[in-house]
Every structure is written in C-alpha cells, then in structure tokens.
C-alpha cells in the first residue's frame, strides 16, 4: 500500500502484551500509511487497539507490551528498530501526540509557560527570550485569549477546552511532521469540541502537519479525515478514503457501525439497526475472522479461517471473505 510520498508507513505491526500463558495480541498485523499533509482517521471501539497502535509508533508502550513484529518507517527510518536516543529525537520533535484527557496529561505543579518551554528546549537550543517569544506565539496560534497574562497560570486555572489547546500548543512546539491525536475531543462538550476541531483544521492548513486522528466518533472522522482505517479487535478491517468508507462501506462491521448510528436511518421508525453480541475479549479471541460471532453475513469459512485483506476497489481494502472472489 506504499506510495512515494508516505511520511509514515506502518507495515505488519504486531504489538503484544507478553502475558502468560499466551500473549494478548493488542495490535495484530496492522498496516497503514500517512502521506504528507494528510489526515488519517483510526476508528474503533474501546479495546480495538487504536491507542496501542499510536503508542507503538512513538514507542511509549507500557513495560508489559512489546512490538514483536513489523516496521514503522518514518522519514526512511524504521522506528521499531532505532536506538532509544534516536527515538527521543523523534518524540515531541518530529512526531508529537495529544492525549484524550487534558487534565491528567498536563503537569499540575508547573505553569503553562514552563511546560511549553520544556517541550521546546528538549529539542532546540534557544535563548530565554526566544523561547518566551515562541511560547507566546504558540499560545496565540492555538487561540488562548490574552496569552501574555496567562503564561504563569497553572493547568487547573484553565477550562477543559483551553487545556486541550495548551496540549496542542505543546505538541506543536517543535513543528512536528506528524501529530498523533488520541481522542482529542472526547472529553469535551460539543460546542467546545467544534472549536477544537476547527482549530485543528486551521493549523493543518497553516502548518501542513500530517495527522493521525484516533477516535470512536464517526462524525469526527467524517468531518476531519482524508482516509480512514477501521479497527476491530486489534486488526484493521477496512481501509479506504473517507468518501468510500461512508458511502460504500464493505466490511460488515463498518456497515453495521454506520447503520447503527442514531439520526441516520430515517424511515426505519424508532428501531435502530444493531450489531448483536459484545466486543470480544482480547484474551479469548474468536477463531477465524474476529468479527464472525457478531457478523450478519457469516459463512462457514469465517469460523475457521482468518481473512486477509481483499482489494474491493482500487485503494479500498476490506478484511472479509465476501470479497474473496473479486481478486
């Protein structure tokens, strides 16, 4: 699936929790790529492996988890294999991350000036006055009103939306080539979410950063992304541009997810389409296709064989046997 302009390309990534007796396959054979200036959406439910994928890219995995296979090619280098020192050069500098909860990811005992300066000084040699100017510039960029007066404020003195803006300022401190945003608006109210999404769009246009946007909200995906990867139980099940995914979803999970959204299926009365069953437990993964116990189109082979990616249309991939005869 590689393209010449890929900024990041993840190939056959497997990240496991090395538990006994058998490992938990949190990310299982995930491949995708992000081009320069592109926004890729990674959508899935809790436990589908989206955050673990992001943490693998930055090698910020918890101790019990390990990348056991695969490549993460970024600027020609395989991040899965570079030394820790080289990795530190990438983190926060070339690739940075925004987390879901701005309250727990900012340090409560330092003011925002310190926290933003810290991100700059970790990678750049600058004079104090230059750093100060840059901090002001960043706060202005993310739309904090009268930033001069707020430099000495602590995170608790900001509202949720403002805190998320500060997180974004820290993430942008070194002009990263790739921004990983993990559920950046989930903790925010709709009107504030709209403000933050608008800000991210503006910044994308201004700076040209590529974005890996992780969310469970299909509305946010539709609003922001160029391409989408749908994750289910540690695997990408569908991968295509945003218009194809929403207009012509192919994997039964994607189809079900879209049909089960309230407000979309007019004419069906008060009943929503629903995907039966529960999200599988990572420890006891179903055999064959991981979605088969919940699938409305399940066939015999789905129970025993794991489907590979099939090309449904050019650049539209689906991990489902329904498309096996297309090839």
């Amino acid at each position: 699936m590689g393209e010449p302009l890929d900024l990041l390309s993840v190939k056959n990534l497997r990240t496991y929790f090395l538990t006994k007796p058998k490992p938990i396959k949190a990310v299982d054979d995930v491949s995708f790529s992000i081009r320069q200036g592109e926004t890729l959406g990674l959508v899935g439910e809790s436990g589908s492996g989206k955050t673990m994928t992001a943490l693998s890219i930055l090698r910020l995995l918890p101790n019990s988890a390990k990348i056991v296979n695969g490549e993460i090619i970024f600027n020609g280098k395989d991040l899965a294999r570079v030394s820790e020192a080289e990795m530190r050069e990438v983190r926060g500098n070339k690739i940075s991350m925004i987390f879901q909860d701005p309250m727990t990811s900012l340090n409560p005992v330092y003011n925002v000036r310190f926290q933003i300066s810290e991100a700059i000084l970790a990678h750049k040699k600058m004079r104090r006055s230059e750093v100060y100017q840059r901090v002001l510039e960043l706060l202005k960029l993310v739309g904090i009103p009268s930033p001069e007066n707020r430099l000495r404020d602590f995170p608790h003195e900001f509202s949720g939306g403002m805190r998320q803006r500060i997180m974004i300022a820290i993430a942008l401190a070194c002009n990263p080539q790739l921004l990983i945003a993990d559920e950046p608006t989930t903790a925010l109210d709709v009107t504030i979410q709209a403000q933050v999404l608008e800000l991210m769009k503006e910044l994308r246009a201004k700076i040209g950063t590529s974005i890996l946007l992780i969310t469970h909200d299909l509305g946010v995906i539709a609003e922001m992304c160029d391409r989408v990867a749908v994750m289910y139980a540690g695997q990408i099940v569908e991968y295509a541009d945003v218009y194809s995914v929403f207009k012509n979803p192919t994997h039964p999970y994607t189809v079900g997810l879209l049909r089960s959204l309230p407000g979309l299926n007019i004419g069906l009365g008060r009943k929503l389409y629903s995907i039966e069953g529960v999200v599988p437990d990572m420890v006891n993964m179903p055999s064959g296709c991981r979605f088969h116990p919940r699938c409305s189109k399940v066939m015999d082979r789905c129970r025993t064989e794991a489907p590979p990616f099939y090309i449904v249309e050019p650049k539209h991939y689906s991990r489902c046997f329904l498309y096996s005869d297309l090839e």
Binding site: I192, G219, C225, V242
Partner: protein
C-alpha cells in the same frame, strides 16, 4: 400512545448548592444548578433533555424524582404536589418513578449478585413476598432486558458494560414504574452496543407504557429517541419543542449553535459551523439578563439587562429569548 395528560410537572423548580468558604465555612454563595425550570412531561412520551456538562440536566433529573431536595418550587406527579411529602409517605410514589444511571460500573453494588440487586427493590417496596415468587420475577426481569436466567447468581464485574446497563434497566423496572429518568444511559457504552440499549429502551417503553425523561448530551441520540426536546443552558430550559420542530426550526441561538456543532457522519456534508465564542460561564455567578448573551452573536442591549421570559412562540414551541422568533 402519547396523550396530553401530564404525568410530571415542575413549577419554578430551583436548586442551589451552597458553596462554603473561609474559616467557619460560612456559606458564601450558591451554585445555581437549576434555576427556575417549568416543564411538563406527558404520559407515554419521551422528553429529551439536552445540554452541555454543568448545565444542570442531571440535577434536574434527580430533583424530579426527589433524589435531591429542591431549594424552591414544586414537583407535581400525577397531579399531586410531592415536594413536601415526607420520605416515608413518599415511598408509594418512589415506586412509580425510577432512574437509570449513566455509569453502569459505578451504579451497581459490586458485593451483591444480580438477584441481590434486583431483590433489594422488591424488599424495599414489599412487592413480592415469597422466595419462589421473587426468583420467578427476577428470571422474568432478566429475560425482559435480554439477559439469561442463569445470570442471576453472578456479580456485576462478570458482565460487560452493555450487560451491566441491562441490569441497571432491570433494576429500574423491578418495581413496575410509570416514569423513568434515564440519565445518559448509553454514553458510557461502546458505539456498537449503544444501539442495542436504545432499542431495548424503546421496546420496554412500548411494552410497559413507560414515560421517559431522557437526559443526554448527544443530540443524535436525543433526536432518535425523543418525542419532544428541551434544551438546557446554565440551569434554565432555553427552548422546548416537538422533536421535528426543534431540529428543523431551532429558534434559540444556543440551540442553533448546538445543532451546528455536531459532527455529521457524512463527509459530503462538511460545512461551516456556527461556532460559539467562549465557554459556558460559571453557574456560581451567571451573566445578567439573558444568560446566553456573552456568547450570543445576536445579543442586543436588552439581552444584557432584561431576563427573557420562557414563552410559547407558537403551538408547543417554547423559547427563552428576546429576539426569537425572528432569528430563524
């Protein structure tokens, strides 16, 4: 199914939470969580209550079923003012009004089995006497909400989020209520599970002729399940109308902005949004006049000075705005 018969009504309902400060914990001020709410819930309908966090929607829900004591105002249930009834005599009313909580992880006692949780409701209200009868009822209840009879002896931690929410619903149904306050019942659940629970709630409403006050921050859910919708902002209802009317002809600038803020799951409908300036002001000290005026793009002098009246613009469409209905 829906009638014009009022089941629940609030009259100028107010709840202020005192904030104490200083050495002797003197009450300095109050958080005006609910500040003068008049709503009616008709028998058999679903009234959706939507608003952002901190607007007072959960407090209102709890006030209505008397889990909280109002500072002022009254609540009428089936025509009777229940505000002043002492707790003991209130019990027969309590049986008729129940609540489903948001977080199915926090609202079930981890030390009780499912039959223990459901059995408590029977004991408190002295509905089922014999043990066998109780077991039978519990089995029926579990089947009603889509669980199996053998789940009765398990503990909450053995269930997934969606299943726990089914237990929460079963607990509410145990006493055959007429009115259920559903406080964000699906927002803690996974996307693919939400539709299951919404469908279950619709089924139960038809089966048991329930009346719902459905509280949510997610407009698409509200749009799906409600018959009428009330929009809340800083402790007050700012707009109330039939669902179709509210979503096509929102009159209050806040409702308009709220509707415009929701990301639509269709990439072909990307659009310019009506972005709201600033954030929700503190309910400790709400703005003068119309509470929405600092964020309102149409605000005029009168909005700063005069508190607008919650009035009926036309049939069943209420709005609290000086400038409506000319803004649509």
């Amino acid at each position: 199914m829906r009638s014009r018969e009022v089941l629940v009504e609030t009259v100028d309902l107010v709840k202020h939470f005192p904030v104490s400060a200083g050495l002797f914990k003197r009450v300095r001020s109050g958080v005006k969580a609910v500040d003068g709410v008049d709503i009616k819930v008709f028998k058999g309908e679903t009234l959706g209550l939507v608003g952002e966090s901190g607007c007072g929607k959960s407090t209102l829900g709890r006030l209505i079923i008397k889990l909280l004591k109002p500072t002022r105002g009254c609540i009428k249930f089936d025509g009777i003012d229940v505000t002043k009834i002492p707790d003991k005599q209130f019990r027969p009313y309590r049986r008729r009004m129940q609540i489903i909580f948001q977080d199915p992880y926090a609202s079930l006692n981890p030390r009780l089995t499912v039959s223990g949780i459901l059995g408590e409701a029977f004991k408190v209200h002295k509905i089922v006497d014999s043990r066998q009868e109780r077991r039978k009822r519990i089995r029926e209840l579990l089947e009603t909400v889509g669980l199996a009879a053998e789940h009765a002896d398990r503990y909450p931690h053995e269930f997934s989020g969606g299943q726990r929410q089914r237990i929460g619903i079963a607990r509410a149904l145990a006493v055959n209520p007429e009115f259920i306050v559903a406080d964000e019942p699906i927002s803690a659940l996974d996307v693919s599970i939400r539709a299951q629970i919404l469908n279950l709630m619709v089924d139960l409403q038809e089966k048991f002729k329930l009346t719902y006050l459905f509280i949510a921050h997610d407009l698409s859910v509200i749009k799906h399940i409600s018959d009428r919708v009330a929009v809340m902002y800083l402790g007050r209802i700012v707009e109330l109308a039939e669902k179709g009317e509210l979503f096509t002809k929102p009159l209050h600038p806040y409702t308009q902005a709220l509707l415009s803020s929701v990301p639509v799951p269709n990439p072909e409908l990307r659009r310019d949004r009506l972005l709201l300036k600033g954030e929700v002001p503190s309910p400790l000290n709400p703005p003068s006049g119309c509470r929405f005026h600092p964020r309102c793009r149409y605000a005029k002098d009168v909005c700063v000075k005069v508190v607008p009246e919650f009035r009926e613009v036309w049939g069943g469409h209420y709005v609290e705005c000086h400038l409506a209905p000319d803004l649509h």
